[in-house]
Amino acid sequence: MSTTKEARRLDSAQQTLDILYDISQLLNTQLDKDTLATCIGMIESGVNPEALAAVIQELRRESSSLNQTNNRQARQ
């Protein structure tokens, strides 16, 4: 019984995640499904979504600049 319930819960969560992923893709958030799942997990655990969004953007920005530096160095 508990297994069924667990399965249904997982199924429901999966469905919700799928839908959120769809929305995410449609909004062009550039999040893959795993990242989205991680984000959702973080929010579920109490992380402020705006702060999380800011962190993600910052991480992206830094990652991007880092990659550019590496590329330039590699070319030199």
């Binding site: 819960r9 997982l10 429901s12 969560a13 469905q15 919700t16 995640l17 839908i19 959120l20 769809d22 929305i23 995410s24 893709q25 449609l26 909004l27 062009n28 958030t29 550039q30 999040l31 893959d32 795993d34 990242t35 991680t38 984000c39 959702i40 997990g41 973080m42 929010i43 579920e44 655990s45 109490g46 992380v47 402020n48 979504p49 705006e50 702060a51 999380l52 969004a53 800011a54 962190v55 993600i56 953007q57 910052e58 991480l59 992206r60 920005r61 830094e62 990652s63 600049s65 880092l66 550019q68 530096t69 330039r72």
Partner: protein, 1107 residues
């Protein structure tokens, strides 16, 4: 890499990444990282800060592990692609540290229950994105986003488990994250949107389950159970409720059949190979339902038949044995062998009576059914119809035939109404747009109203049928509270009692108005060829007649229905009446300018004054009032006796006509438009309201029943009175306004007095002066009838008589002319008839021309001429003064002469006195008094016409008294002739000089002799007398008489004799004529006419002739 951390004052909402970066972060950064990062962020930073940062801080912070650290590591790894390997360890750790530091601070706040965003905010945000996408013409993206969001919300609505992995309470936060991260859509997101929509519209199949697959995989598809007759359901007749739109099963039927066929789906071809269990279960349920329903299809033989054992004997206690057994008995009687060979059950099938009643109700509503066939324009019991077990064939046939008749009548009416309405639509749409002025036969508004009323009654009937069917269904479903007894006979009785007679009556009306007793379409088409007004009247009269007849027969329901239909049908005509009274007549100046009346209205514009080139005098034409708009005459070549005024409008029609004309005239005069509107239309009611008003007092008694009220309301006389009473105040008010305007504004009385003063010579002073001048010209043999001379004389007379005062009349308005020619003009010396050619025309201004049209003025002119003739004779006689002192030897002649003159004078004076005193004065006085009470122009015209007719009649100027008129003219001619004879005899032409008071008789000139010889007699006998004395000799003046004396001395005895004998003959002639006149007048006085007393006066006067 430079991770930023949230500043202390921006816990709730880090607005930008820049703000997240605390100034202290530089100090936390390891020195080596600064050298690795040439990014833009680094440029903004002073390079010295890196060198100032103590490296020991990193190790301290890295060691402080948070609960978020693992997650943040995952996140950093997923976003940046770095890992904790030696290559990226430093950057990775820095990033993780940055994330942890930022998130931990905010998460603490969040966990404490700070107010986050709610779902409504997210709704707005998402909606905003959707709108934005749509505005940017990314429809699919917007639609996909909308759909996805809707799905999410739907999922939220069904999930209330607090143990869910993704709590719905956090959903706004998730969405907020996504929105914060949202970027403008690119190609990939658009493609994703298209795919997403496609996926939504074609959802993937759920994963198959094994259970049902095992059970239903093989066998059922091959068994008899699955051999579903597709043609049966597919070609099910329209009677099938599965085909009906009002039931909820149409898709079940089709989907079931499709499912069973396993038709390949263009979208999902895999369904053929892997039908899933749930859809199959659904199909099975659908099919089961279909079968259940099919079993109830009593209209298909073999589905819900009543099992009948034809071999069972008839049992009195079991009615269901009656039908089959009597059928068997009949069959045996007629064709025993055939009956034995044929299995009756193969041909016959029996249904429940309740189903038969349903079928009959269908038939009554004009729908397809299995009991009655629509064949050759009537319903007949179907030969293939099922039977009822408790009825014999003939009894069933009898009941069905009766119901068939009722259904036939209803259907015919239905078709008639439908035809009329369809014609109405087609003509109004096509004809009006293409040829707006083309008067092709078309459906009248009254017919439309009739068709509408018919449709309404039919709808009531349909509703009744539907209610009965509803009762049946309720009773079958067990929801009916009352006990319902359903039987064919009861249905038939109910239909016949409640509906059949009204419908039959209406059908008769339809037959009457078309005069054709054939099928409906022919009848309806015939209608279009009959004049619209005739059809309208025929329809209304037939309806009213029928309603009255049924009322008299105390058939109240029928009478009520007919009354309703009649009321509705009358409304268009009533509305037209209203419009006519409101707008009034058109001005008739131009053709087709919106003032045309409907062809079905009982008033029509004749177009009388539309002359050549489409132009005419219109309103200004004197005949326009009487001829411009008239009650429509409907008789044509085909329908000689066609009426165009409805019977109940008979009395009010002329009233309405007059009021509309009066209103139009008032509008044309620019007077009192608003006033007439207010008076005429302030209390206008529809015909329905008119009929529902209580019967006026005086016609309603205490014990009057409702039936009597209906009877009163429906008889043509009562309706006529109601209509008259309703319209009279409006019409009277309009007429009164016009009458007042005519009198006060148009100077009716002034012009009337002018006309009477001139034509009837009531202005004695002026007219005497005028006539004296004219007569002087006559006496002098001058051209008295010259047009300019006449008018100048008249003008001068008017001028002379109005010195120092206002003119009695404007002489320029009067035009005198003579139309007899020069020869006739000169004959004035011999005959009074020369004056006949004189006419006087008075230019009366508009709109008084309606009262005094030219033909009326012509009559006035005739009277004027007659009076002038009498006065001329009188004047001529008065000029002859006989003073015979010196003519003693001529005593006897003078005596005769004197006697003749006296007799002539007496008669002429008596006649003139009678005409002026007893005819003109009396009539004018009575006319004036009557005119003050006239309430409308029509009444004025009638009064005046009657007045003028009386004047004409009493002046003996009508054709019926032409003999008397001629006799009087002969008398006047005698007077003229007598005068001329005397002048010829006396030989003094100067005797006609009015300036001389006496006449002396002198030598007769040769001209006078010729003149005497040329005298034309006024009658045959007198002419013969004149011819006899043509050789008479001249007379001579004796010279003794100072003023007048017969020239006896110079007159030979022979001449005397001739003269005396002529005078004698004249006297005899006069005697005869006067007696003739007297007899005529006496007979007129003895008549029963209105003029008898007046003529009695003249007759009394003339009695003295012989005395």
């Amino acid at each position: 890499m430079i991770p930023s951390s949230s500043s202390g004052n921006s816990y709730g909402r880090p607005s930008s990444s820049a703000s997240l970066r605390p100034p202290s972060s530089a100090s936390r950064r390891p020195g080596s990282s600064a050298s690795q990062r040439p990014s833009s962020a680094l440029h903004a930073r002073p390079p010295s800060s890196a060198s100032m940062r103590p490296s020991s801080r990193l190790s301290q912070r890295a060691k402080s592990r948070s609960r978020l650290t693992p997650v943040c590591q995952t996140l950093v790894a997923q976003i940046t692609g770095m890992d904790n390997s030696a290559l990226h360890a430093e950057n990775f750790n820095t990033a993780v540290e940055f994330a942890v530091q930022n998130l931990e601070a905010t998460s603490l706040v969040n966990l404490k229950g700070s107010v986050g965003v709610d779902m409504s905010t997210m709704d707005k945000q998402i909606r905003g994105h959707v709108e934005k996408a749509k505005i940017q013409l990314r429809k699919s993206l917007g639609q996909a986003l909308e759909t996805a969001y809707r799905q999410l919300k739907a999922g939220m609505a069904h999930t209330h488990d607090l143990d869910e992995d993704i709590k719905m309470a956090h959903m706004p936060d998730h969405l907020q994250l996504l929105i914060k991260l949202a970027m403008p859509p690119d190609e990939a997101s658009l493609i994703y949107a298209d795919k997403y929509l496609d996926r939504v519209s074609n959802p993937p199949l759920p994963t198959p389950e094994l259970t049902w697959k095992d059970i239903l995989a093989d066998e059922p598809f091959e068994g008899e159970h699955w051999n579903y007759d597709h043609s049966d359901s597919g070609s099910s007749p329209s009677l099938s409720p599965l085909d009906s739109d009002d039931l909820q099963f149409p898709d079940d039927s089709s989907s079931s059949a499709d499912d069973l066929q396993d038709a390949p789906s263009p979208i999902e071809p895999e369904t053929r190979t892997a039908p899933d269990a749930s859809s199959r279960r659904q199909r099975f349920e659908h099919r089961q339902m279909l079968e259940e329903l099919q079993k109830q299809q009593y209209w298909h033989k073999g589905r819900l038949d009543i099992p009948v054992n034809f071999n069972r004997p008839f049992d009195v206690g079991d009615p269901s044995t009656f039908g089959p057994s009597i059928h068997q008995a009949l069959a045996r009687t007629h064709d025993k062998e055939a009956a034995l060979n044929l299995d009756a059950s193969e041909r016959e099938w029996y249904i429940e009576e309740v189903h038969a009643v349903r079928e009959v109700l269908f038939a009554l509503q004009g729908r397809k059914n299995i009991l009655l066939d629509w064949n050759t324009h009537k319903y007949l019991p179907s030969e293939r119809s099922p039977k009822l077990v408790h009825l014999s064939l003939s009894s069933q046939h009898s009941i069905l035939s009766s119901l068939g008749l009722a259904a036939t009548v209803v259907r015919q009416l239905r078709e008639f109404a439908a035809f009329i309405l369809s014609q109405s639509r087609s003509t109004s749409q096509i004809a009006q747009t293409l040829q707006p002025h083309d008067h092709k036969p078309r459906v009248t508004r009254t017919l439309e109203a009739f068709a509408d009323a018919l449709s309404r009654e039919i709808r009531v009937f349909d509703a009744w049928c539907a209610a009965r069917e509803d009762d049946i269904c309720r009773a079958q479903g067990g929801v009916s509270e009352e006990e319902v007894v359903i039987s064919l006979l009861a249905t038939e009785t109910a239909v016949m009692d409640q509906f059949n007679r009204p419908f039959v009556a209406l059908r008769e009306v339809v037959g009457k108005i078309t005069n054709v007793d054939q099928n409906q379409e022919t009848e309806a088409r015939c209608l279009l060829s009959v004049p619209a007004a005739v059809i309208t009247v025929r329809l209304l009269d037939s309806l009213l007649d029928s309603a009255q007849r049924h009322t008299e027969q105390e058939d109240t329901p029928t009478a009520e229905v007919l009354k309703r239909v009649f009321t509705t049908t009358v409304e268009p005509v009533w509305g037209m009446t209203h419009k006519w009274l409101k707008d009034g007549m058109g001005l008739g100046l131009t053709q087709g300018q919106g003032d045309e009346l409907e062809e079905e209205f009982f008033i029509e514009g004749t177009g009388l004054t539309i002359g050549m080139m489409g132009m005419g005098m219109g309103l200004l034409d004197p005949e326009f009032w009487s001829e411009g708009y008239v009650l429509r005459e409907g008789a044509d070549d085909v329908l000689q006796e066609a009426k165009t005024v409805p019977a109940f409008f008979k009395h009010a029609a002329s009233l309405v006509l007059g009021a509309g004309k009066a209103n139009g005239l008032l509008r044309a005069l620019g007077m009192a438009t608003s006033l007439t509107d207010q008076v005429a239309l302030g209390t206008w009611r529809s015909f329905t309201e008119l009929l529902t008003t209580p019967i006026p007092h005086g016609h309603q008694t205490e014990g009057q029943t409702a039936l009597e009220k209906i009877q009163l309301a429906l008889s043509p006389d009562t309706l006529s009175r109601l209509v008259y009473d309703e319209l009279f105040p409006h019409c009277k008010a309009t007429g009164s306004i016009l009458a007042r305007v005519l009198v006060e504004e148009c100077g009716l009385r002034t012009h009337l007095s002018t006309i009477e003063g001139f034509y009837l010579m009531r202005r004695g002073d002026v007219m005497s002066h005028f006539q004296d001048l004219i007569f002087a010209k006559m006496d002098n043999q001058q051209g008295w009838a010259d047009f300019h001379a006449l008018n100048t004389v008249f003008s001068d007379v008017i001028e002379m008589n109005s010195l120092g005062a206002t003119k009695w009349m404007e002489p320029s308005l009067m035009r005198l002319s003579y139309r007899g020619g020069k020869e006739k003009e000169r004959s004035i010396a011999r005959s009074i008839k020369a004056i006949d050619g004189l006419t006087a025309e008075y230019a009366i201004p508009f709109p008084l021309t309606y009262i005094f049209p030219p033909k009326v003025l012509q009559i006035y002119s005739e009277i004027f001429v007659f009076l002038l003739q009498i006065r001329r004779a009188k004047t001529v006689l008065e000029k002859i003064l006989v003073r015979g002192d010196g003519a003693k030897h001529f005593q006897s002649g003078i005596k005769v002469f004197y006697s003749m003159r006296s007799r002539l004078s007496w008669f002429i004076n008596a006649l003139l006195n009678f005409l002026t005193t007893y005819v003109i004065n009396t009539q004018v006085a009575s006319f004036h008094s009557a005119l003050t009470t006239a309430a409308s122009l029509d009444e004025m015209i009638d009064l005046h016409s009657s007045h003028l007719e009386k004047l004409q009649g009493r002046c003996l100027l009508q054709p019926s008294t032409s003999a008397l008129h001629r006799a009087i003219l002969s008398v006047l001619d005698i007077a003229i002739n007598f005068s001329a004879r005397f002048a010829a005899f006396a030989g003094d032409t100067s005797m006609h000089d009015i300036s001389r008071l006496s006449i002396s008789v002198g030598h007769r000139s040769k001209r006078l002799k010729r003149q005497r010889g040329n005298v034309i007699g006024f009658s045959q006998s007198f002419r013969s007398l004149v011819s006899l004395d043509s050789d008479s000799d001249e007379a001579e003046d004796d010279g003794d008489s100072p003023s007048f004396s017969l020239g006896a001395t110079s007159m030979t005895s022979g001449e005397d004799d001739n003269f005396l004998s002529r005078v004698e003959a004249m006297s005899n002639e006069l005697n005869g004529l006067v007696r003739f006149v007297r007899r005529g007048v006496e007979s007129l006085a003895g008549g029963v006419g209105e003029a008898a007393p007046t003529f009695g006066v003249l007759a009394f006067t003339l009695e003295d002739w012989d005395s």
